[in-house]
């Protein structure tokens, strides 16, 4: 009964948020250059990118179109590897000058003490660093001999700062699923207070590598692991917002599933395209900062993000959970968009049947 009321109220809340569509989370894909060559890269990034880094002034011109930004609008710098750029600090200060916050997603490879200090000095407020297993499995996924050591150092630095809202993310796959308890111990020992777990979406370089994807049983094991440690006060372990997880909703994260792509989350991509999360199929782009007014596009377009009824197709067409799931995470719609790439709830249901 209570659960039904909560569900209904949350549906209403989603409707109202969608109608309001306040922009309070903006990705900037500031580079597609990367110093690693990860097996699971959804962006297929390389050391040398076919796109030059976007000049800061171009990004700021787009940012300045936002007439009235919401409280705590966070600009999230992502890539590629954003720290490949030497001018991140300049950009960060420009964002802060405008009264907005900024944060960074990094693979940790270039995150040393000097950079940590210069980023904090420039007003960095939140940071996410990837750690995809213990040394061997992390370096395997990251396709690097020494990234783990650098990530370890980066995590120690970030965790030592009481200013940063910092978390570690782990892409869970066949090679690291059995290491989760040890990874948790490692992070606690490093002083990390928040840990987010993902699965890998079959896009970019990942799609042809079966080692990267959990079986249905392993996926449920992952959810059980998170659920077991959710109430643990030592470290906040949660599942990412990548998809709807049916019976596990509310057991594995703070809130019900709500894909906010295009509702509260926007992006400016490397070629100036205006979209939502960078891992979303680029054919969903809504405009381009080099020819459109960014904020006008945010306010007046994004129909396919704010009305998801078009996702009621393929396996979603007759699904009983559609009202709460609405086609899963938006990044699960690629190619011909006739069917969702991953249905987390289906994976769970399959295991529950046995």
């Amino acid at each position: 009964m209570l659960s039904a009321i909560k569900k209904r109220a949350f549906r209403k809340f989603k409707e109202s948020e969608t109608k309001l569509h306040l922009l309070n989370y903006l990705f900037w894909e500031c580079t597609t250059r990367c110093n690693l060559n990860c097996l699971h890269c959804g962006s297929d990034c390389l050391k040398e990118s076919s796109f030059p880094d976007m000049p800061i002034k171009d990004f700021l011109l787009a940012l300045d179109t936002i007439e009235k930004f919401s409280e705590n609008l966070t600009v999230v710098l992502t890539g590629g590897e954003p720290l490949m750029r030497k001018d991140i600090e300049i950009c960060g200060r420009e964002i802060r000058k405008r009264g907005m916050r900024w944060s960074l997603v990094s693979n940790g490879h270039l995150y040393n003490k000097e950079r940590h200090i210069s980023l904090l000095n420039s007003g960095l407020g939140a940071l996410t660093i990837s750690m995809d297993g213990l040394e061997e499995s992390h370096n395997w996924l990251r396709n690097s001999d020494n990234n783990f050591k650098k990530v370890e150092n980066a995590i120690s630095l970030a965790a030592s700062s009481s200013r940063l809202n910092f978390d570690v993310v782990t892409c869970v796959n066949k090679r690291n699923i059995n290491e989760l308890p040890q990874i948790r111990d490692f992070l606690i020992q490093k002083g990390v207070s928040a840990w987010r777990l993902f699965t890998i979406v079959p896009i970019g370089r990942a799609k042809n590598n079966p080692d990267l994807f959990l079986s249905d049983t392993q996926f449920v094991e992952l959810l059980n692991f998170i659920s077991d440690f959710r109430n643990d006060k030592v470290i906040d372990v949660k599942f990412s917002c990548e998809g709807f997880v049916g019976k596990y909703e509310f057991k594995v994260r703070d809130s019900y599933f709500f894909c906010r792509a295009g509702i509260n989350i926007g992006s400016i991509l490397i070629d100036g395209s205006i979209s939502a999360c960078p891992n979303i199929d680029r054919t969903f782009s809504q405009g381009n900062i080099y020819r459109d007014d960014f904020y006008n596009i945010w306010q007046t377009k994004f129909e396919s993000f704010r009305d998801r009824s078009w996702t009621k197709t393929g396996k979603c067409a007759d699904c009983n959970e559609y009202k709460d799931c609405q086609g899963n995470g938006f990044h699960n719609w690629h190619g011909d968009k006739k069917n969702v790439l991953v249905c987390h709830n289906e994976q769970i249901e399959k295991v529950m049947k046995f």
């Binding site: 109220a9 990705f27 904090l120 910092f166 703070d254």
Partner: protein, 121 residues
């Protein structure tokens, strides 16, 4: 304003603690931290000229900035009560020799400008 109240009420009914706090799948947490921008200029008490190369830091914190040729420094740092800011001559005789100084910030604003003079050794 009315809309904002409505969304809070509807949100509250779903008993979810983190309705307005979220992070995108591949993004970072949002930043709700309190910080402040500390800027200023360091000059010589005797010559009244700006001093380059003075290390400006917050006590018990690894953050610091070095003054530039105009004696200017600038950094964001966590907003804490009674924060002690330290000014240290760390480059030996290169830009003159000055006595280190500590100052305690008693007023906390989003932005603070400090005019500091250092005595020569």
């Amino acid at each position: 304003m009315k809309r904002n109240w409505m969304r809070r009420i509807i949100g509250g009914l779903s008993f979810t603690s983190a309705l307005f706090v979220f992070q995108a799948c591949y993004g970072t947490p949002q930043d709700f931290g309190l910080d402040m921008l500390i800027e200023g200029q360091v000059k010589s008490k005797t010559s009244e000229l700006p001093i380059k190369g003075i290390k400006v830091s917050v006590a018990d914190n690894m953050q610091y900035d070095l003054t530039n040729e105009n004696g200017r420094f600038s950094f964001y740092t966590e907003m804490l009560e009674n924060m002690k800011i330290r000014f240290e001559d760390v480059d030996s005789v290169q830009n003159g020799l000055f006595i280190n100084k500590d100052t305690v910030l008693t007023v906390l604003n989003e932005k603070v400008f400090l005019d500091i003079t250092l005595e020569e050794k």
